[in-house]
Symmetry: C2
Subunit: 202 residues, 2 copies
């Protein structure tokens, strides 16, 4: 593993866990087992290193989800697949939602730039492929007329909000001593699919 790769790996681990401001350059250097000066040698500044990591994480999420809406399946099936895959992805990478949310909470400049670059490069454009698929579904009367932009926001918000707000939500859910997180997340998939697909039926 080259020094640069060691840095990126360590930086990703720690930025994902602690965000931009919670992460210290020395901590990344320690984890990568290299001298702190190497961080600046390879990546100039903390912000640049962070932006680098953000882009990798962002790509990882959006590339996979983007593809779903370019398939030949029915729109209903696509939404079904989307919810399952998105929530599974979060379950397997539980740090990702908070990582992105923290970035947005800082003002989201890095996120906005990453997004702009993705649009310019015409890459992994989830919003675009979703909106094309949804428009088509409206035209072919698979679903009733809805604004695809709003539908996408509702879908994303429904999937991700639990994981963002979990520190507070879990206080309430744990009032029930038999509460089981794993089971609840699986129910969550079905409830989202049920309510939303039902809500847009023609």
């Amino acid at each position: 593993m080259s020094t640069e790769e060691k840095i990126l790996q360590a930086a990703m681990d720690i930025f994902l866990e602690k965000g931009l401001h919670g992460t210290k350059m020395q901590e990344i250097a320690d984890k990568a087992e290299i001298n702190k000066a190497m961080l600046h040698y390879y990546f100039r500044s903390k912000e640049k290193l962070y932006a680098h990591v953000f882009e990798i994480v962002f790509k990882h999420v959006f590339e996979e989800l983007h593809q779903i809406f370019t398939s030949e399946e029915s729109f209903e099936t696509q939404v079904h697949t989307f919810v399952n895959k998105y929530i599974d992805l979060i379950k397997n990478n539980p740090r990702i939602p908070l990582f992105i949310i923290r970035e947005l909470g800082q003002g989201g400049e890095v996120a906005a730039n990453t997004f702009k670059n993705a649009i310019a490069a015409e890459n992994y454009m989830l919003p675009h492929s979703f909106i094309v698929a949804a428009k088509n579904a409206v035209e072919t009367k698979q679903i009733k007329p809805v604004d695809p932009r709003h539908l996408l926001i509702t879908l994303l918000g429904s999937c991700v909000f639990f994981f963002i707000a979990e520190p507070m939500i879990s206080v309430f859910l744990n009032n029930d001593p038999s509460f089981n997180r794993e089971m609840f997340i699986n129910q969550r998939k079905n409830e989202i699919i049920n309510v939303l697909l039902n809500g847009i039926k023609p």
Copy 2:
């Protein structure tokens, strides 16, 4: 205005804008026009002052929304009112969603404690009143059988996600040169109400 009030007012303004870590004690002191030592004299530490502010903000949001689901209206009307009021509240206090999100992004310890205290005091318990209302609506067949906990999460996520993710979403929405934020937010209310109420119709 007493020194203590001046501090709280200034702290609220700045914490709301910049979050815990973005806010400097000196900045609060300057805005309140008092000596920095007074902050510690009245509130001991930055964290304690922050927690104080968080509780005030949190109460402000949840008290108003809580009441909706204690009314005698039909559940459908209550949901309608909730979406309109919640989104209006955010429009009038645009810093609030990011403020709470930033707190959750830091781990949400302060948020969790505030929430626990609210439960213990049996105060402004939005989740409780919502779940009672939704259960009742299921039993009286006003809506089809859904898990009220999931419905609440879907509802909150749908309302708030746009404002959280706006730095990214707006990059995409602004591709359309005629995009109008004010109009879009009003549409957002109706789309949420339409899709969700339709989704839970018996």
